[in-house]
């Protein structure tokens, strides 16, 4: 299985995709979670109590970038899109958790959808850590299954 990672990421194209996807997810998430402030000054702020949340964002972004870039490789190889769907679902679930605490997204959702929006928002906030852990688990499974199937599919039959 280790060979599969070497095969995929020996191509600079997939490394760039993975790095791009990582930052595409990581930057918005740390802004929403108020680790990074863009205005009026660029400030990064992390407290000891928020280290776990920050670590989960890093892990989620890393796993997502890995899963999606591996599946892009897979699509190119065998035109199979199923696992890309799973990794996107995992990413969306993980990204949604905690994004609805007191920020503009929560404000808009709650003022638009009223009580239902409030319940959804508080659910995503209360269960932020378990939801992110679940998403990381989903992404881990996707990476494992993708790598496994790729290593079988790529085997040269003699």
């Amino acid at each position: 299985m280790q060979n599969i990672f070497i095969i995929i990421f020996s191509n600079i194209y997939y490394i760039l995709i993975a790095i791009g996807l990582f930052f595409l997810l990581f930057i918005p998430l740390i802004i929403i979670s108020e680790f990074l402030f863009l205005e009026p000054f660029l400030v990064f702020s992390i407290y000891p109590e928020t280290t776990l949340s920050f670590s989960l964002i890093v892990t989620l972004s890393f796993f997502s970038s890995l899963a999606v870039s591996m599946n892009i490789y897979r699509v190119k190889l065998i035109k199979e899109t199923k696992k890309i769907g799973s990794s996107i679902v995992g990413t969306v679930i993980g990204a949604s958790a905690g994004a609805c605490s007191c920020g503009p997204i929560a404000f808009s959702v709650i003022t638009t959808f009223g009580t239902a929006g409030s319940i959804a928002s508080s659910f995503l906030t209360i269960y932020e850590i378990p939801i992110r852990l679940t998403s990381i688990g989903i992404l881990g499974i996707v990476i494992f299954v993708t790598a496994n199937s790729l290593s079988h599919e790529c085997k040269v039959k003699l």
């Binding site: 402030f37 199923k82 799973s86 996107i88 949604s96 605490s101 709650i110 003022t111």
Partner: protein, 219 residues
């Protein structure tokens, strides 16, 4: 199976895009707009610190907002110590209770406490005791318990809460936060230079260093 997955991903993506689009669109607030904010209402704001301070920090918050609690615990103490207690700035709190039903009653309770001169003590207690949104930590009974703990006159406090005496005050503060200050999240901050009347808006639980960089040049 693959089709179902693609449809599911599509639906989730649409919901996500819609939520983001809504968040960046102009606020369609449900607030009661029958009352207009006037200059007099600014005078009704309760300030902590010297009235003649050269800087005013306006915090727009919700008592159930966890980011507001983070700011309360991490940034506020240093602001109080270095700017409010030294007479360089005063701090004003404007309610934007949108996260749950208990946000409104908690805000009302602070004004009932203010009737007995204990606004800031009650404000501090609420943030110290904050838990999850609408999980009962700010129920009527708990709000009464906080009042009792602060040695407030319970007859007056209960009468104030039961008669919804300050419902309009809270509603007015909500309007002020959204209409006058354009707040769309909590905590938000407006830092006003009382000499030049320059205003700087901040969104989120910004760290102390950000406030210092803004306030120091105003002094």
């Amino acid at each position: 199976m693959a089709k179902t997955m693609i449809i599911a991903v599509g639906v989730v993506a649409v919901i996500l895009v819609a939520a983001i689009a809504i968040s960046f669109s102009p606020n369609s607030s449900e607030f009661d707009n029958t009352q207009n904010t006037t200059e007099n209402e600014f005078e009704t704001l309760i300030a902590l610190g010297s009235e003649t301070a050269p800087v005013t920090i306006i915090e727009i918050g919700d008592y159930q907002c966890e980011m507001c609690k983070r700011w309360f615990e991490k940034t506020r103490p240093e602001i109080i110590e270095n700017y409010v207690d030294t007479g360089k700035a005063n701090l004003v709190f404007i309610d934007l209770p949108f996260l749950g039903n208990d946000s409104i009653t908690a805000a009302e309770a602070t004004y009932c406490a203010d009737d007995q001169g204990m606004y800031w003590d009650y404000h501090v207690k609420l943030y110290q005791l904050q838990q999850h949104v609408d999980d009962g930590w700010a129920s009527q009974v708990r709000l009464q318990a906080i009042a009792f703990d602060l040695d407030l006159n319970m007859d007056k406090f209960n009468e104030c809460m039961n008669s919804k005496k300050h419902y309009n005050t809270v509603n007015l503060k909500k309007q002020m936060a959204v209409i006058e200050f354009g707040a769309d999240s909590t905590p938000s901050f407006i830092i006003i230079n009382n000499v030049s009347m320059d205003k700087i808006k901040l969104s989120g639980a910004a760290p102390y260093s950000t406030f210092k960089e803004i306030i120091d040049p105003m002094l």
